[in-house]
Assembly symmetry: C2
Homo-oligomer: 222 residues x 2
């Protein structure tokens, strides 16, 4: 394989549960009462789809643009308030360094906006020449494959030459839709079977375990 | 079936994610750095086993009694600080009321101590004659079946006449060990397959969905 495209939250950085509770607080502040696990299962999908899921689950009328903006703002404030709890997942920095050392191309593609992704990216000591694709740079976020396709383009590879590494079914679904192979990471809190069912061909606990099994993904140490 | 025995957190009350982050904070404050999803997957097991898992995961020496006490104390403080975010799961109060109305016996059995369980129990409007079994009342918590066996005893039924309703694999495991049928609830954030693999014979999203399918569990409206 020529390249890896990584999701960020729950894949490289241990931030999913803080995002979940930040959304829960934002939703409650705006009068929406959604069970926490249902938010958890939607983390990583595009904000627009999240709003549609919300209206369906709660049976409320359409969430208008002003409300969507207010929700996003409250989520951002809450998440940034919890940021001191967030850190890289075990092995994340070492995995990225090993790929660089082995001359394997890699990039990061996240459904998050640059403003909330920036602190997590800063924790990972990413070299300045690595492509970082955030929500702001594409029309549709996951499970549309736009983020991953843009990352592949920046890396100069085809989808068939790259693997998508992510913790959510939205990552795996977006990967399949554009012919990327998907690799699942359990650290976002999905069950292994959920990731396999949505297309992951290998599943690792966290970046540490993936680093120890890079041979299974075709990375040669030469 | 003669009776239902319910787990509390993640089964009747939407409190799992707050417990998870409370443990995460407590562990960090005591110098232990464990990924959040690994804590999530251990919520609902006994505190003693949680400590053993901790020492194995982190490769630290035994967690001594003073440290275990300090961790439990910090978890309790943090959880109570997050309590304003916690509420009954959809349909929880209605489900319990419907069982009472249908003259089906039920009880609650939780791995939590009375002090942290009390506020959640208060939210559920539980009649005073319902047996409530907490960690304090048995020698071993889940996945040992002591909590469920004590609950069955108080209800005056055999294990084969009662179903255990829970959100975690520890509930399902404890249920099987004592010949209870297990019913899984997704609201604690486990994947459906994880619950089925650990023995759940039916899985519902939340108490609301269970209430709508009580016929599948043999509850007759007569």
């Amino acid at each position: 394989m020529a390249a890896f495209i990584f999701d960020l939250d729950g894949t490289l950085v241990d931030s999913v549960y803080q995002h979940v509770l930040a959304w829960h607080t934002a939703l409650r502040d705006c009068g929406f009462n959604l069970s926490v696990w249902k938010i958890h299962r939607r983390i990583g999908m595009s904000g627009g789809l999240l709003m549609r899921a919300l209206t369906r689950e709660l049976g409320v009328a359409d969430v208008d643009e002003a409300m969507a903006e207010r929700l996003a703002q409250r989520h951002k404030e809450e998440y940034l308030r919890l940021l001191s709890q967030v850190q890289p997942l075990p092995g994340a920095i070492e995995l990225l360094q090993e790929l660089t050392r082995s001359k394997v191309k890699w990039a990061i593609a996240t459904s998050g906006a640059l403003e909330t992704a920036k602190p997590a990216l800063d924790m990972l000591q990413i070299p300045s020449d690595i492509p970082i694709i955030t929500r702001d740079q594409v029309k549709r976020a996951k499970p549309d494959p736009d983020l991953f396709l843009r990352a592949a383009e920046k890396l100069g590879v085809d989808a068939t030459q790259a693997m998508v590494v992510g913790d959510s079914v939205w990552d795996m679904l977006a990967a399949r839709r554009a012919n990327f192979l998907g690799v699942g990471i359990l650290a976002g809190g999905y069950g292994e079977q959920e990731l396999v069912q949505s297309g992951a061909y290998r599943v690792y606990a966290d970046p540490q375990e993936m680093l120890q099994h890079l041979d299974e993904l075709g990375v040669r140490d030469d």
